[in-house]
């Protein structure tokens, strides 16, 4: 098992925060503090108030957890909630129904497995996110998780950065293919090698929300040992100059936009020069110690079983389809990275029942070196599975209803909780995803359509990443009804792009037909079946899609 570990300080700190929060809840229930006084305190512990109940958001550091932790999440769902949890685009889990009076006990239980809900709200540095195949993928330069962990330790209750102008999100990728959407984070770190030295390409000012921006490259190469010095420099410049007068202009992306990249880079570099070589330079021994937490698991050669996989796949087409769609290349040729779809046709994206969480924990323990991941695309992953064990994993997933073979296909949709749960939402999001998945439920049709990313947000805050969906759907409320805007051409990988609004919005009962029109248009215009949706869109632009959706453009008189 390779995992982060709490040290004595972490244990003592989290325990003290739980005790403090327990007392705060008691005082609130006894009338000792008002809601205005209490609300920021509960938010600092991840407790929100939504439409039907409170919601507790629990951090899963860079999406990494083990079976013991997953079982605890299942136990909490079963004991304190309604038997399920919702995995989010931030690699967190949200519980939708906890009683306020139970939240202190839930946090105590989480602390038993080195988890918490700190910094899952508020204008601080949030959960650092990463590639869900970190430490396993064949295309990886280096495991980003030790650096994520360094950032986690540094950013936890950082006194200087606890009250930033606005929330702050950092994502890291160590692979050639960006599975962590680093270009749409406040800071995006892409691992690079330069003259044999490991480091980062640094992007700043990416983000979604009402003003989507692609992160700008602020540094081509940052030596790894300077990670904290440089990140501190960025945050200092932001903390000092970021706008606090307008919540909607307070993210660092607005500062980058208003200041200009060159000017901002000069400010960051000046601060970095002051910090470089000082106490923030990462000591080699400490870096090594943290790397040892994430030591690669012992993966013995199992080549004979790997060779046998092809005949197993041929013998059972359903298994074959699942392996083909839901597993990807591991750095060890006898192993695979497995993605567990939380997008069963007609299911709520990202939801898992307590029983499913337990079943997945069991599979991780038996077949995957006790490692589990949560992806920002709201699926789970087993990063190290021997090809010889894929059949057993598949059978286990079939038994718990998690064997849908649709990763990367049209029904693998990101959707925020939307108006079914969220107090910020303007429209529903989950049923849109369910209806699209059902419309394209035929596996042969989905396979023909090929890789495509549909992302749905129920409000402009864009938790469902609609700006970077190949097809993005944004719900807005218009005259009391739900209206949905379609954007096309977004992408969140190494070729990040922001989707373009294709035209006027669609009412709910027209929306799925409109999506189907977009798909049919793509199928007709693609150069050949290997040209995927996003590539075809980039080649032809929006016009054919506009034409198909809204009719021929009017000719000028």
């Amino acid at each position: 098992m390779s995992m982060y570990r709490y040290d004595e300080f972490d244990h003592a700190f989290v325990a003290s925060r739980v005790a403090e929060y327990t007392e705060q809840v008691e005082r609130r229930m006894a009338g000792g503090i008002t809601e205005d006084q209490f609300k920021p305190l509960r938010l600092m512990n991840g407790v929100y108030l939504q439409l039907h109940a409170y919601m507790l958001r629990v951090a899963i550091p860079y999406g990494t957890l083990d079976s013991r932790q997953m079982r605890k999440l299942a136990h909490i769902a079963r004991t304190y909630d309604k038997g399920y949890g919702h995995f989010t685009t931030r690699q967190n889990i949200q519980y939708n129904w906890p009683a306020l009076t139970d939240t202190p006990r839930i946090l105590e239980e989480l602390a038993e497995v080195e988890m918490h809900a700190l910094q899952t709200s508020g204008n601080c540095i949030r959960n650092v996110t990463s590639d869900h195949f970190a430490g396993a993928a064949a295309d990886e330069l280096a495991d980003p998780r030790p650096w994520c962990e360094i950032l986690r330790q540094w950013s936890s209750v950082h006194p200087e950065f606890t009250y930033l102008p606005r929330k702050f999100k950092i994502a890291l990728s160590g692979a050639a293919h960006d599975r962590a959407a680093v270009r749409v984070h406040d800071i995006g770190l892409q691992m690079r090698q330069h003259n044999g030295q490991l480091g980062f390409e640094v992007f700043v000012g990416g983000g979604l929300g009402r003003t989507p921006m692609i992160g700008k490259r602020v540094r081509e190469f940052l030596p790894a040992e300077d990670l904290l010095a440089y990140t501190t420099a960025i945050l200092r410049v932001y903390n000092l100059n970021g706008r606090r007068d307008n919540k909607y202009k307070a993210r660092i992306k607005i500062l980058v936009h208003e200041t200009g990249l060159e000017d901002l880079r000069a400010q960051i570099e000046a601060e970095f020069e002051r910090l470089r070589g000082g106490e923030l330079t990462l000591p080699h021994d400490d870096v090594e110690a943290i790397h040892s937490y994430f030591a690669a698991p012992d993966l013995p050669n199992r080549s004979q079983e790997a060779i046998a996989l092809t005949s197993q796949m041929d013998a059972d087409p359903a298994f074959g389809a699942w392996v083909a769609q839901n597993s990807s290349a591991h750095r060890h040729p006898d192993y695979s990275c497995v993605t567990i779809s939380l997008k069963g046709i007609g299911d709520a994206p990202g939801d898992a029942s307590a029983d499913q969480m337990d079943a997945v924990a069991e599979l991780a323990e038996r077949f995957a070196n006790d490692e589990l991941r949560v992806s920002h695309e709201q699926n789970l992953a087993l990063p190290h599975v021997a090809k010889g064990d894929l059949r057993a994993v598949y059978d286990g997933l079939v038994a718990c209803g998690l064997a849908t073979a649709n990763i990367g296909l049209i029904s693998d949709i990101i959707a925020c909780p939307g108006l079914d749960y969220c107090a910020l939402a303007n429209t529903r999001s989950i049923p849109v995803a369910q209806d699209i998945a059902q419309r394209f439920a035929d596996p042969a049709r989905a396979a023909d359509i090929g890789p495509i990313k549909i992302k749905i947000s129920g409000c402009i805050n864009a938790c469902g990443h609609h700006h970077v969906g190949h097809i993005g759907i944004l719900g807005v409320e218009k005259k009391g009804t739900e209206l949905f805007q379609i954007t096309l051409g977004g992408s969140a990988d190494e070729n990040t792009s922001i989707g373009e609004i294709i035209g006027r919005g669609f009412e709910y009962d027209q929306l799925i037909d409109a999506v189907e029109t977009v798909i049919e248009t793509y199928l007709q215009l693609r150069s050949d079946p290997s040209e995927i949706f996003i590539d075809a869109y980039r080649r032809v632009g929006p016009e054919p899609f506009k034409h198909a959706l809204y009719g021929a453009p009017k000719q000028a008189a």
Binding site: E35, L49, Q50, H52, W97, A99, D420, T427, Q434, K479
Partner: protein, 114 residues
């Protein structure tokens, strides 16, 4: 969208966040967990009645029984009273994607606070 003809007060119970609504009771108002038990106030009724409802809800929040108290618009059709905004209709029923959860799955009525 139906015309707004009535007002009601919605809130969430402090202890567990469960949605509740104010409804008339002997000598004033009380909280109910069940939308069907709510008697919204007609806009063409005594204008003081809405103010009295709001004042009671604010006082209840001050007594730490509820949070997020809010005046909502209500219309009436053949089915009965219904919040006009989808948001409040979902609050009154539960998630549209989980009919086994929320009010639609639990029809009991409890007092919000002793």
């Amino acid at each position: 969208m139906a015309n707004v003809q009535f007002k009601a007060v919605a809130a969430n119970r402090l202890s567990d966040g469960i949605a509740v609504w104010a409804t008339s009771a002997p000598g004033g108002f009380r909280w109910t967990e069940t939308w069907a038990a709510v008697a919204p106030v007609a806009l063409d009724a005594d204008p003081g009645e809405v103010e009295a409802l709001e004042a009671w809800a604010a006082a209840e929040a001050g007594r730490d029984h509820v949070v997020s108290e809010r005046l909502i618009d209500v219309a009436r059709d053949q089915q009965g009273y219904l919040p006009t905004r989808l948001r409040e209709r979902i609050v009154a029923a539960g998630p549209t994607v989980r009919l086994d959860l929320g009010k639609q799955a639990e029809q009991s009525t409890h007092a919000v606070a002793a």
